[in-house]
């Protein structure tokens, strides 16, 4: 074997990697925020809403959770144009990821809402609080605290899954790996390095989430 590793070639392309990293971070963070909002609204609708809200939400959740993300992405980016709706790669990526994460978040948050004992709700109602007030002051905080680890895990998984947008040529971190590879032909080094970058990101995200938990939910 006469191969010698040449990581230096990959390192000198660091600007590409940075650009890709920025998009990956943007995709991840925006999707997390939107996904959380969809999750809260959808879960509340699913648990407390009338059947004309519960059923569509259930259909949405089951459809997304039983089909692959890449197919959802292709449908939005390649498929919708034939119906007249055209998105650029970045926008399609945001939409697909948000819709995907939203469905998983609904399921996770729903479990949290259902875990709040009925007696808590009755106590709030008996004090004269409206349904919305009971939700906001009595239910949300304990429910989120309960499912925080599961949700944080899902968010980290999402950050890793953003790599799939490289397949519609969105210029994320993973796509940059292909670009660098095509310039340096250092396949092995590039992909190992990019994998390590994702690993570092995952570790950082996990630490940040743990810290956030301490800040918001742990009582000092």
């Amino acid at each position: 074997m006469t191969y010698s590793f040449q990581f230096r070639d990959v390192f000198t392309a660091w600007e590409f990697l940075l650009d890709g990293l920025i998009l990956t971070l943007e995709l991840s963070l925006v999707t997390m925020v939107v996904g959380l909002l969809i999750g809260l609204a959808g879960a509340a609708g699913r648990v407390y809403g009338p059947s004309w809200i519960r059923r569509p939400v259930a259909v949405y959740v089951e459809t997304i959770r039983n089909t692959p993300l890449i197919v959802q992405l292709f449908l939005i980016f390649f498929g919708l144009p034939s119906a007249g709706i055209k998105f650029d790669a970045d926008t399609a990526a945001f939409i697909a990821l948000a819709i995907n994460l939203g469905a998983y978040s609904i399921e996770i948050i729903r479990a949290g809402l259902e875990a709040i004992p009925r007696s808590q709700i009755e106590a709030g109602q008996s004090l004269g609080l409206s349904g919305l007030q009971v939700f906001r002051h009595v239910i949300v905080f304990p429910a989120l605290k309960l499912i925080y680890p599961a949700l944080a895990s899902q968010f980290v998984l999402l950050m890793l899954a953003t790599s799939v947008v490289s397949q519609i040529s969105a210029q994320d971190l993973f796509h940059m790996a292909s670009i660098i590879q095509s310039r340096t032909f250092r396949d092995f080094e590039v992909y190992i390095l990019v994998a390590a970058a994702y690993l570092a990101l995952a570790m950082i995200f996990r630490l940040l989430f743990a810290g956030l938990y301490q800040l918001v939910f742990a009582r000092r």
């Binding site: 007696s119 808590q120 009755e122 106590a123 709030g124 109602q125 008996s126 004090l127 004269g128 609080l129 409206s130 007030q133 002051h137 009595v138 905080f141 304990p142 605290k145 009582r219």
Partner: protein, 243 residues
Amino acid sequence: MSLVELSDVVKRYGTHTVLNGVSLNVEKGEIIAIIGRSGSGKSTLLRCVNGLEPIQGGTVTFDGTVVNDPATDLRKLRQHVGIVFQSFNLFPHLSVEKNITLAPKVVKHVPTAEARQLAEAVLRKVGLAEKIDAYPDQLSGGQQQRVAIARSLAMQPVVMLFDEITSALDPELVGEVLKVLEEMARDGMTMMLVTHEIGFARKVANRVVFMHEGRIWEQGPAAATLAQPRTPELETFLSAVLH
């Protein structure tokens, strides 16, 4: 017109009839103790008064308003009817102060400073003024229950409902809670208690209501009825409870 009127109330869970035509009037300032075996419908009866349980027959009226009417604004009604539960039901993520001030601030728009003073006042009434910044998991059962009472009192209700509030407490913590109730009685609060504490009922209640098989089996002045039950069922119940 009585403060609370239950007229021929019927309540079913599926095929099981829990309340089988219950009629009861409660006047302002009266203290009613409701006793009976498990499953006799006593808690359900209480929960009908503030609309926590929908009924299938009869009417429940509070201060002239029909509680079981779908058009009634239960939220407004519940500001005047306080209820304390067997399992305290304090909000674990809120401090004692926040537990107490939540409803006044959010429902009655009491400003924060005034709300804190209100909290201090009701906590003094239940003897827990120093615990205002504590959290529920730092309190004993008896303390949590007293905070629950304070929380209901903060809304300045006209009637207080107590659903077996000492049943979940260790015996040595029961006394401190009953003391608070005695004081409230002395202050003239209208109270409906579902309780197993027969001694307390005899001492503090005006009237005792004995429920059996979903009906009011016997009722009368507290001391007299408990000393001389007229029906065999009440006699059996008392001898079982007071063994």
